[in-house]
Amino acid sequence: METEEHLLALKVMRLTRPTLSSPLPLTCDSKDLPGNLFNNALHQDLTSVQGSETLCCGQFLLLPQSPVNIYLGETFSSYICVFSETQQVVKSIYVKVDLQTSSQKLSLSSNPPTAELAPDETINIIIHHEVKEIGTHILVCEVSYNNAMGIPSTFRKFFKIQVLKPLDVKTKFYNAENDDCYLEAQVQNITTEPICLEKVALDASQNYDVTSLNSTNEGEHIFGPTMLVHPQSICQFLYCLTPNKTIKDSRNLSGPTNIGKLDIVWRSNLGEKGRLQTSQLQRMGPEYGDIRLLIHELPNFVVLEEPFTFKCELINNCERTVDLMLYFENMEGIAWCGISGRKLDPLSPHSVRILEFKAVPLIPGLNTLSGIKLLDTFLKRTYTYNELGQIFVVIDDQKISKSP
């Protein structure tokens, strides 16, 4: 860099959180050789806390002694101190602090120029910047001033900062039998220190209402009161997304749809805060045709060889009235109880009708409802509904009364 001698100099210190310092708790019994000398020394230590001398949870703030990583979403803070290296008075000092990222240059400080700096004085600047990019950042500090003769001079100093990725977020969608959708989000701590998740929330898009499924019935968080995540550990969150009632045409939900963003706030050492928001999470909705058939009511448990009923919602998504024929096809383990090849009443545009079905389970255990076929008589198009839902077939009816 520059070898030119300057009247001013500049120092930069990253203001990460201080730590809490504690003494080394060395104690002994009064009958041991050192008597109470160790205990007294411990007690008089400035970093010990009265009454809990032997616990390393001190109250003494120690300034950061070693460099700490900086992560995306955290706030980069630095102390910039400009001081005089001369006995002369230096005039018109202007300090400019910029942060150069891979994509842009940000101005972090635009302090008004200092008119004069006496030999013992300093110019103190504190900058804060929430880092929003990963990778190399360069802090550029430029100091310009006039010497006693009024000759202007400038020098610059550069500091390199590497911004790392703090969290790894993985998401998975599950489409339920109704229009609900479940989002499973795995948040992994990829920093080197334990972090405390302060907030993990799904900000749903306008198409969905969201229910967080991460609390117990008593309202406590399933991960306990402290959501402490160790390095490399993963916390898994579950959300249920229900399509907004205002959406009339469910075809709007098919294909890729935005469901919202995950908003995560965490803290680490002595409250160092970080915040990240994922980009819009996209869900591939199932293809919805003109006609849809959804489970409306279905018992969880049914008794072997006893008829049961379930209800389905028949939805017409299109602009015309639809005439449908209903067929039953054979399915394994369950026999239909009803007429196949029956003509249904015409279904008007954008309307919903509840259909009731009856069937007899023939095999105990988990059985899948399939084999409902609808024929659009106008378009000659057939809709087949397999794997509509599942029922569990039990033998003893006493078990039904016990189960919820």
């Binding site: 210190m13 959180r17 201080p18 730590t19 809490l20 310092s21 080394l24 060395l26 104690t27 002994c28 019994d29 009064s30 009958k31 041991d32 050789l33 050192p34 008597g35 109470n36 160790f38 205990n39 007294n40 411990l42 007690h43 008089q44 400035l46 970093t47 806390v49 009265q50 009454g51 809990s52 001398e53 032997t54 616990l55 390393c56 949870c57 109250q59 003494f60 703030l61 120690l62 300034l63 002694q65 102390y79 101190c81 001081f83 290296e85 300093t122 103190n124 600047i125 504190i126 334990p194 302060e198 402290t226 402490l228 965490w266 803290r267 680490s268 050492n269 002595l270 409250g271 805060k273």
Partner: protein, 544 residues
């Protein structure tokens, strides 16, 4: 040292005398030893020091850090005790100061052997117990176990430790300044444990380490004796405890680890009284003190191997729990079905509950160093439940633990609970905790005013002044941050020249100007004047 400790310690010496077979001057010295002698010694040092214009370490210490009136009060005991500690100035004030009792428990005079049994009780491993039984069964002097069952320690340090502060002064400030430094050395005190205590009290830890090496030579456990069979006595093992503890205190962890390795977990038969029936008859228990066991269990943690410490500490805890269970079941501490009076039983119960709490503290510290914060929080929570008297102190520590991991809500709820328990006006600890909470929320101005309020209650509290200084830095007021620490040092140099405070001040000096080096030299000069010893890390920081 108070009169109370002397008889017991001199008793150790008499026994040792027989064990070593010589050195009558030592035991003579000690049997004579009393408070009077000790104070005389200190007076001598003072008068010689006063002749010189420069204050020296020894004198300053005897003025500034006087021994508390009752030095017998046991620290271990107080943890389990129901005394309220927050109001008392000194640890030793907390113990019961009735001079009649032996262990600081009740006003009853405990029978010497009773107190000893209680204090020394330990449960050896089955293997060791078997050897001890063999030992007791055979005629005195006829049973010789394998060498592998014996503890054969020796001093590893080849040379005596020098004056590291003096060396730093010579390098930075010149030989002339170094020559003016006057400190107490191992040669300036009586060559016995009294002299050792004098060195420890003066903070001359390195000199004290040197003296332990000399004293251990008397037992055939000095330099190069590692691996040679020698006998152990309460005094020799106390010397080892003191030596290892001081090595840890001076952060000579590698040496501490090397020298203590031979002791293992203090489970070899020759550290139990039963191993020497010809000397101690049927006296049961461990010759090695409980503090020594704890120190050895903690040692791997200091050397960066906290996992090993955690295992050893849990082993220690399980034995302590067994002892407490034995007491509850109507037995002796070690499970011996011997009759003990109800009073003795409850005293013993309290002692071991206190020791259990101390072991738990160490486990908490160890899990913090491993960043196993859940374990630390869990144990601290357990301690809060069982110790209602100190609940607020422990809760406050738990709150700070939450702060450390960044759980602000958790910390706040702990501090609020402390508030409910304490009631009345906020005390210093609470004000500081509140300040720390503001620091965690990046609100340094509010933190500063919390600390300032605490400082009004106790203007000379250096921790509070330091925290104010830290807040000033984060608010862009570097010069003020420096001046707070500088004035704190000028008011109370011996106390304020503390490693952590100096680290902070050096960091600020580095920021302020290019003259930091000169200012650090000035600090070194202060250390040289007031401290007998300083951690190497801080000296290196001052050189820099």
């Amino acid at each position: 040292m108070s009169e109370k400790t002397t008889p017991l310690l001199s008793q150790y010496f008499e026994q040792n005398d027989r064990a070593v077979g010589g050195k009558p001057d030592l035991s003579l010295e000690l049997t004579k030893a009393s408070d009077k002698l000790n104070s005389l010694k200190l007076d001598e040092t003072i008068s010689t020091n006063e002749n010189k214009s420069e204050p020296t370490v020894c004198r300053l210490f005897s003025e500034n850090a006087p021994l508390p009136a009752d030095s017998t009060a046991a620290f271990f005991d107080l943890i389990g005790r129901g005394t309220n500690s927050s109001k008392n100035g000194l640890i030793s004030d907390l113990g019961v100061s009735t001079s009649a009792n032996d262990d600081g428990f009740s006003a009853r005079v405990a029978v010497g052997s009773e107190a000893e049994r209680r204090r020394d009780a330990w449960i050896p491993s089955d293997k060791t117990r078997q050897i001890l039984i063999n030992c007791a069964m055979s005629a005195p002097g006829t049973y010789f176990p394998e060498k592998e069952h014996l503890t054969t320690p020796g001093v590893f340090l080849e040379e005596e430790l020098g004056d590291n502060v003096g060396e730093a002064v010579a390098v930075c400030l010149g030989e002339a300044e170094a020559a003016e430094r006057r400190i107490i050395t191992a040669n300036d005190v009586t060559q016995d444990e009294r002299g050792l205590r004098e060195l420890v009290q003066a903070g001359a830890y390195r000199a004290a380490i040197n003296l332990t090496a000399r004293l251990l030579t008397i037992y055939g456990q000095g330099k190069g004796r590692n691996g040679h069979v020698s006998k152990h006595s309460p005094h020799s093992l106390q010397l080892w405890f003191t030596r290892i503890a001081l090595l840890v205190k001076t952060k000579a962890y590698i040496v501490a680890q090397a020298e203590s390795e031979i002791f293992g977990q203090l489970d070899k038969p020759d550290v139990f009284y039963q191993f020497y029936p010809e000397m101690y008859g049927d006296r049961p228990g461990s010759i090695a003190s409980f503090s020594f066991r704890l120190l050895l269990a903690e040692l791997p943690m200091h050397c960066g191997n906290s996992k090993e410490s955690l295992t050893k500490l849990f082993n220690l805890w399980s034995t302590v729990k067994q002892i407490i269970q034995n007491l509850n079941n109507g037995f002796c501490e070690d499970g011996n079905p011997m009759e003990i009076s109800e009073n003795d039983r409850s005293d013993s119960f309290r002692l071991w509950k206190g020791r259990e709490a101390r072991v738990m503290h160490s486990i908490i510290n160890c899990s913090i160093s491993l960043k196993h914060f859940e374990l630390a929080m869990d144990l601290l929570g357990q301690l809060c439940e069982r110790d209602k008297v100190h609940r607020h102190t422990l809760l406050s520590a738990l709150g700070r633990l939450h702060l450390q991991v960044g759980n602000i809500a958790g910390a706040e709820s702990c501090f609020n609970e402390v508030r409910v328990i304490r009631g009345g006006k906020l005390d210093i600890r609470e004000l500081v905790d509140r300040g720390l909470l503001s620091v965690a929320q990046s609100n340094f101005d509010e933190a500063y005013s919390n600390f300032q309020e605490a400082s009004c209650l106790e203007p000379n509290n250096l921790m509070i002044l330091n925290n104010m200084s830290v807040c000033l830095l984060y608010s862009g007021r570097l010069k003020e941050a420096i001046s707070i620490l500088e004035s704190a040092i000028s008011v109370n140099p011996p106390h304020a020249l503390h490693e952590s405070l100096l680290l902070n001040l050096c960091t600020l000096y580095d920021m302020e100007s290019s003259k930091g080096r000169m200012k650090k030299f000035a600090l070194l000069r202060q250390i040289s004047r007031y401290q007998a010893d300083a951690p190497t890390s801080i000296l290196e920081k001052l050189y820099g």
